[in-house]
Symmetry: C2
Subunit: 228 residues, 2 copies
DNA sequence: TTTATATTCAATTAATATGTTGAATATTAA
DNA sequence: TTAATATTCAACATATTAATTGAATATAAA
């Protein structure tokens, strides 16, 4: 007859505790922000602290919670610690949480409407899937534009992408082709950078579209990237 | 020039707060247990309370946290509330958390070794993928055995599955075919029921294998189920 | 209506998580 | 060695979350 030892329930409970640790780790806005940043590239504690507007001790502690949950790893390099995602599946995890929240929580829907307002007069911006972008790059019908911060571009970007931050866009406007569709991309679906770039370029009369998601998802999909 | 309103940072923070809510929701062992159960079938509060060994008030509060996070919905039916997963993607979420934890946390690896000990002498139990099982069912080379509790089987099971709990297995042993492989399945990868069934049947001389994952994953994959 | 029942709400206490400060550690450069 | 720097640890105050109890609500049956 099947045996159910007394310790089995305990083990199952411990197992559930360990899995809950992953939930706890992503269950805080600061840690989500850290993961979003680390999905773009590896960072030192100091940089993360600055980008998240946290002090170093706090940042370090959050990073260690993420590490204990198996979501990031640390490597010492000289006198600094470099943190990175353990695994591309963390990108999937963040994406899945985003998708579930977006489809089930009215609050998220509302906030997205606020963050990405649709100008009702205009036709909606064209959105490229990864497949369509690949095709466009192959037949040379699109110019690819990375509008993330320079450091993120340098650590890795889509092949052939031109890099311009929003601030640089105005001065280099004439360098962009008027006869081809410009496809802008940024950190991911909830990042506003590519939306802002698209709005500006469109206003300036360019043919412009937006990649549906960002660099991490592209890399996660196993598509080629140029690394700095 | 691109505009960054003062409220944008706030909106992004609120958005991250909402997403963190999903993490918080799955960041407690009791709530994970509740989700595992609800992945099998819809349940009333009372049943969940009993299965999780919690009192009703506590159970109800945990359920409401899951509901606020958009992971489950409630429907009143007479004087009772029926809870169910909002979405099959919740099954994906649990699976992804499991996979990440398993590959990144030594503690999880250790606990699994404890929960599913490999008898070193024996050849390891054969594990069927869903694809292989489908094929085996088609050509009639396997008998499918559901070893979950009766209520879960009745709410939905794999087509053609025979239901026997571990307790019932002994008495109905002779009804099982000796000339075909018996494939047992249960709640999912971390459920011990199918392992126990396999160990017993094997010891009794049956040709027996285990489905890699359980009923929720099968259903989630869009494969046919027989509903009670 | 009244009564019985399932569930949720409210209030309390206990437990846990967070942010902050200053000290401790580990590594490089002097 | 010593000094400088990046990071982590320890300890505290504060905030959030959990479990428990008893009361309140909503529905169905009497």
């Amino acid at each position: 007859m099947p045996v159910t030892t007394t310790s089995q329930a305990t083990t199952e409970h411990q197992l559930r505790d360990a899995l809950a640790g992953v939930g706890k780790a992503i269950g805080h806005p600061h840690r989500l922000r850290l993961l979003e940043l680390l999905a773009q590239r590896a960072y030192r504690v100091e940089q993360l602290a600055e980008l998240c507007d946290l002090n170093m001790a706090s940042t370090s502690q959050h990073l260690q919670q993420l590490r204990r949950a198996g979501l990031i790893t640390a490597r010492r390099e000289g006198r600094q610690m470099i943190y990175r995602l353990t695994d591309d599946r963390i990108v999937d995890l963040l994406g899945l949480v985003r998708d579930i929240a977006q489809s089930q929580l009215a609050e998220v829907e509302r906030l997205l409407g606020q963050l990405f307002p649709q100008d009702i007069d205009e036709a909606p911006t064209e959105v490229f899937t990864r497949e369509r972008l690949l095709q466009g790059l192959e037949n040379g019908s699109v110019t690819l534009l990375d509008v993330r911060p320079g450091a993120e571009f340098e650590a890795g970007h889509l092949p052939g992408a031109r890099h311009l931050t929003l601030a640089e866009l105005k001065q280099h406007l004439h360098e962009l082709p008027a006869d081809r569709t410009i496809v802008a991309y940024c950190r991911g679906p909830y990042c506003t950078l590519s939306h802002q770039a698209v709005a500006y370029l469109r206003q300036q009369g360019y043919r412009v579209a937006r990649l549906a998601d960002g660099f991490p998802e592209w890399k996660r999909a196993g598509l080629p990237v140029e690394e700095g």
